[in-house]
């Protein structure tokens, strides 16, 4: 049964690959969507009256440049460098508010599977994550390196343009986030992005 399943899956992938739109080259991507900063301190631990996600939709913006090199008609590898802005969280204090959002510069390796007009891709790498605060408890921004992983798909409208959908996760590498108090640690990020890709 396992052999039949493996064989039929392989044959199906080969069938799709015969019509795959493989393409080497530089590409540009602009994306927008929803992002949430998690692992933030509670309002109580920050000494605030309450905490609220005040991001309006879209709460995430990302632009990137990348290169894809096709190893064969089915598989491509490459690099993607992007910059993004994610989320918005507000803490309400008696004397005013403090707002946080995250800015990133991302360096990701990409593996792409070409299936007819659809590309399935996975990304992994490191980012430079900067948490920006403003308001009554505003502090100097500090940047740290953090890991990121993403998975997504692109539908090729033609050899140049494709629409994309991506889910990405950034690990802030901290269990107890106390950005507003003493210890600098970063939030986790969860992103759902939709965008447009142009390949030269």
């Amino acid at each position: 049964m396992k052999k039949i399943l493996f064989l039929s899956t392989s044959l199906l992938l080969l069938f799709f690959a015969f019509n795959a739109e493989a393409r080497n080259g530089i590409y540009l991507t602009v994306e927008s969507g929803y992002a949430k900063q998690t692992n933030l301190p509670s309002a109580q631990s920050a000494g605030a009256l309450r905490r609220e996600n005040t991001a309006s939709f879209p709460s995430a913006y990302r632009a990137s440049v990348g290169y894809n090199h096709d190893l064969n008609c089915l598989l491509g590898i490459g690099l993607n460098i992007g910059a993004g802005r994610y989320g918005r969280e507000t803490y309400y204090f008696p004397g005013g508010n403090t707002t946080l959002y995250t800015r990133t510069i991302e360096f990701l390796g990409v593996v792409t599977l070409h299936l007819r007009r659809v590309d399935i891709f996975g990304k992994a790498g490191g980012i430079r994550e900067t948490v920006i605060t403003s308001g009554v408890l505003a502090q100097d921004s500090q940047t740290d390196s953090r890991p990121e992983a993403a998975i997504g798909a692109a539908y090729n409208l033609n050899p140049h343009f494709a629409v994309t959908g991506t889910y990405a996760y950034v690990n802030g590498l901290s269990k107890n986030y106390n950005r507003l108090t003493q210890t600098h640690q970063d939030p986790n990020l969860q992103e759902v992005l939709f965008g447009l890709r142009y390949t030269f």
């Binding site: 530089i26 090199h69 460098i81």
Partner: protein, 184 residues
């Protein structure tokens, strides 16, 4: 109207004149400057680099070369003002379009490789070692003179760090490095 048409055709012919991307080596000089990240002083200096070997193209828009670079930097601080670097690194160059078909060939590039630092400290930054890695990211354009020769204009940034191999890894950054190269 005629002048506009003539200008358009002239620019088009400059771009599209068949110019094979047949250069094998490059030598370039450059000047770099920029504020050190998260500091209040500036770094500046000069760069001399060469493309020592050009490997077979990876695909129709991606090449890799072995580059050697010598740089001398000065920091606008009271101490640790001078730094000389010697680097050897593979450089990946991705062209927007097939370089064999165009005279003007814009590209993006990146390199990563081992580097020797003449001093462990530069400005307010401490690297704990004379051994670091140099990472460069940037872009530019080649302008073909004939089938084998071209001019290369480039803008990139350079980042020096030891990737956490040693105790201190504060990183040194030169944000804007402009180079002019001759390919042959």
């Amino acid at each position: 109207m005629k002048k506009i048409a003539a200008l358009f055709l002239g620019v088009l012919s400059l771009l599209l004149v068949n110019s094979a991307n047949a250069w094998q080596h490059e030598i370039s000089i450059g000047y770099g400057f920029g504020k050190e990240t998260e500091e209040n002083y500036y770094n500046r200096g000069g760069v001399l680099s060469a493309k020592l070997y050009k490997f077979r193209p990876i695909d129709n828009t991606l090449i890799v070369t072995l580059d050697g670079t010598i740089s001398h930097w000065t920091a606008n601080t009271d101490k640790n003002k001078q730094l000389t670097t010697v680097a050897l690194a593979p450089d990946f160059r991705a062209y927007f379009l097939n370089p064999n078909c165009f005279r003007v060939r814009p590209y993006l590039g990146a390199s990563f490789g081992p580097t020797y630092l003449s001093a462990e400290r530069f400005g307010n930054r401490n690297q704990s070692s004379h051994f670091v890695f140099q990472t460069t990211i940037g872009g530019g354009t080649e302008i073909g003179i004939d089938r084998k020769r071209a001019i290369d204009l480039n803008l990139h940034l350079a980042h020096y760090c030891n990737a956490g191999l040693f105790r201190q890894n504060q990183g040194i950054n030169i944000l804007y490095i402009m180079t002019l190269g001759y390919q042959f």
